[in-house]
Symmetry: C2
Subunit: 386 residues, 2 copies
DNA sequence: ATTAATAAATTCATTAAATTAATTAAAAGG
DNA sequence: CCTTTTAATTAATTTAATGAATTTATTAAT
């Protein structure tokens, strides 16, 4: 519940964040362009850019004559100093943990991962995470990390920085932020992994100019992160974005979640493999690549099912763009095209405007980049909780 | 697309609006209470309240000793001057138009309606609307209207104030705001009717303290208005909130919208009546009141169907509350209880927290109050477009 | 080369609004 | 009547954006 008034401090934070996002979005840009994009005055942009320059985050990169320009002073190009601040991204999946060091432009410049041993309880996990992270950071001592962002599966309390529940792993109330903050003495942020991915997509991916979009991730389950009114949607108690538990068949099999006929029972990696009697995702992808008709059918069917469920969503929220991540969408499979087709033939919105369905542009590093984005935005740029 | 920076003007508008909403929400309140609710300082509240007082919108209403208070100056009670500003609400339905004059506390103090003749084209409509409105306002000359809000069926462009398309009526590009603004010389706002209702629910109904909720309206179709992150969701091109076109049966009958098995084909007034061979909503309600088993079954089935579709939505957006308006939910029918039951047994969120499902507290005047809310908030209180 | 024109960028004074700290107002209770 | 306590206001301060004026840098024309 956030009925909090505005003041100059919050306005400043907001504008700083806005200018930073504009700098990322436009890559190499000018003060003029930032001003017209944010509808702030040139004077204000001068101030904020000066701030960033004195922090070493931005620097001038030679002056150019703009196209429409016949005379007059050349505009000074501005560039993000990509490595002026680095953040660590930690992506906690139910099978393994990915670690990375990420730049201001969202590039992952160091990477590592480790697998969770069977039956790893939450104390073991914390120990293991700290050990691995310490080794990882030490191996890259030249890359100083200014903040740490964690994106985790399960139910997450962003405000308190606690992993409330990770069902598959049997963990509860893991105080990740406190633990890591004590160990590494930098600001730490925890968010749901898929929500982090949406933030990553907004900052660094293909949704930089979108105000309303959906970022879907197909892993063990199917989750979604949402941007609405140009803000991330972060519910209070739980994870939200449980797209996998949207109803596909109202009279379908009961799910552990309480619902019947959940999408996850039809179109998640696990469901597809078991329905078609395939051993692993690798196997499925290989079969498809080899021209196997059944693999093709399996992927198409899943795409259709996801597309149908997304249609309902699009009829409620008129997102311009839907991003799909995860291996089944990542590889060059027909799944994505099927989602696209169904959303764009079935949805109400599509009668007025196409909904762009695309795979993430952040690649395999989506999880790490997303986790890092959270730390970057809140820990490095604006220090706001909004 | 709204990547617009903040400044003091916008901050002020926001705070003014926040204080006003707090005044409505807490009914009779004090400066202290407003300050703690908005997390603004007492000094700021003094300023904003003074502004409202000089405008005649707020007045002091005697001092009381608060409960926790043993000594010290009594707190001054503040009251909204309910009739300091009045706004007109116009609810355009596909069968008729409801007109009303609404106070600062959301009470409808004058009301009237007129029916749309068969085959009424948009020029006839504009003429008819102006005639009826003029007569209505003249009949209540003592009640001066400071702004006009319109809530309409169809696809609406809020920014331009144009009714883009009203399918059932065959209208296109009706420039309602310009037309009425020229005629009545007060600010006019146009929004989608169901979205207006959501705003009404936020300002005056049972969602005053909610930041995320859904307001569903069952009429000819089924629509929804949404509050997310304490903001109304208002998409750019079209209406959004097309709950009636959420998929209920993936392999169901094709709908004109492009989808298959839309909820509207199962659970809208029209669908229910035709499925059970009932002549009118009145008849259905009467049969139910007389203990007719089939009417009971019809209402329960619709409730279940709506509940199932809402479950998918709740699994994506963790709304705390779902409001249902419309005659079938308004009367004391089992429909609402069925929705409640299904959402609270099936949704993921319900495992952590109950979702409150209730009928609107705004009664039959929901549409008019909602339309008026739009004008009130944007035209009278904050003049902001946000 | 000099000058006029033009556009970018900055500076500086102004404005707006919230905050902080100090002050005044009002009431209770010994 | 005096002290204590809380509410409310006032005045000074701070923060940040804006607008106008100015400076800087560049092109093009003379």
């Amino acid at each position: 519940m956030s009925f909090i008034g505005q003041n100059t401090t919050r306005a400043k934070q907001f504008n700083r964040s806005l200018v930073f996002q504009t700098l990322i979005r436009l890559q190499s840009t000018t003060r003029q362009e930032i001003a017209s994009n944010t509808k702030l005055t040139p004077a204000t942009i001068t101030n904020i850019v000066n701030e960033f320059m004195s922090e070493g985050i931005v620097s001038e990169a030679g002056s150019r004559r703009s196209e429409s320009q016949k005379a007059g002073r050349k505009t000074m190009m501005l560039d993000l100093n990509e490595r002026a601040r680095l953040v660590a991204g930690i992506h906690i999946r139910s099978d393994r943990v990915e670690l990375g060091i990420v730049t201001l432009k969202g590039n992952v410049i160091a990477e590592q991962q480790f697998w969770l041993p069977d039956g790893c309880d939450q104390h073991d996990f914390l120990r293991l995470l700290k050990d691995e992270l310490t080794v990882f950071l030490r191996a890259h001592e030249d890359l100083t990390v200014a903040a740490i962002g964690i994106g985790s599966v399960g139910l997450v309390d962003f405000e308190r920085g606690v992993l409330l529940e990770a069902k598959h792993l049997g963990w509860n109330e893991v105080a990740l932020v406190n633990e890591l903050q004590a160990e590494y003495a930098v600001p730490v942020y925890l968010d749901h992994n898929v929500r982090g991915m949406a933030l990553g997509e907004k900052l660094f991916g293909s949704c930089k100019t979108e105000t309303d979009f959906l970022s879907v991730y197909m892993g063990q389950g199917i989750g979604a992160g949402m941007y609405v009114n140009d803000q991330i949607y972060r519910s209070d108690v739980t994870g939200a974005g449980e797209l996998g538990h949207a109803t596909y068949q109202p009279e379908g099999e009961p799910c552990w979640c309480g619902n019947h006929g959940c999408l996850e029972r039809y179109a998640s990696e696990e469901a597809i493999l078991s329905e078609w009697g395939i051993g692993s995702v690798d196997e499925l992808l290989k079969a498809y690549a080899d021209g196997d008709a059944q693999a093709d059918r399996a992927l198409r069917q899943a795409g259709k099912q996801i597309g149908i469920v997304l249609t309902s969503f699009v009829n409620m929220f008129h997102v311009n763009r839907i991003i799909i991540g995860g291996r089944l969408a990542q590889e060059n499979t027909p799944l994505l095209a099927e989602v696209d087709h169904h959303v764009n033939t079935r949805s109400f919105l599509a009668r007025k405007r196409d909904v762009i369905v695309s795979r993430t542009s952040l690649g395999e590093q989506l999880g790490v980049t997303g986790a890092a984005s959270v730390a970057l935005l809140y820990g490095v740029i604006s220090l706001e909780i909004n």
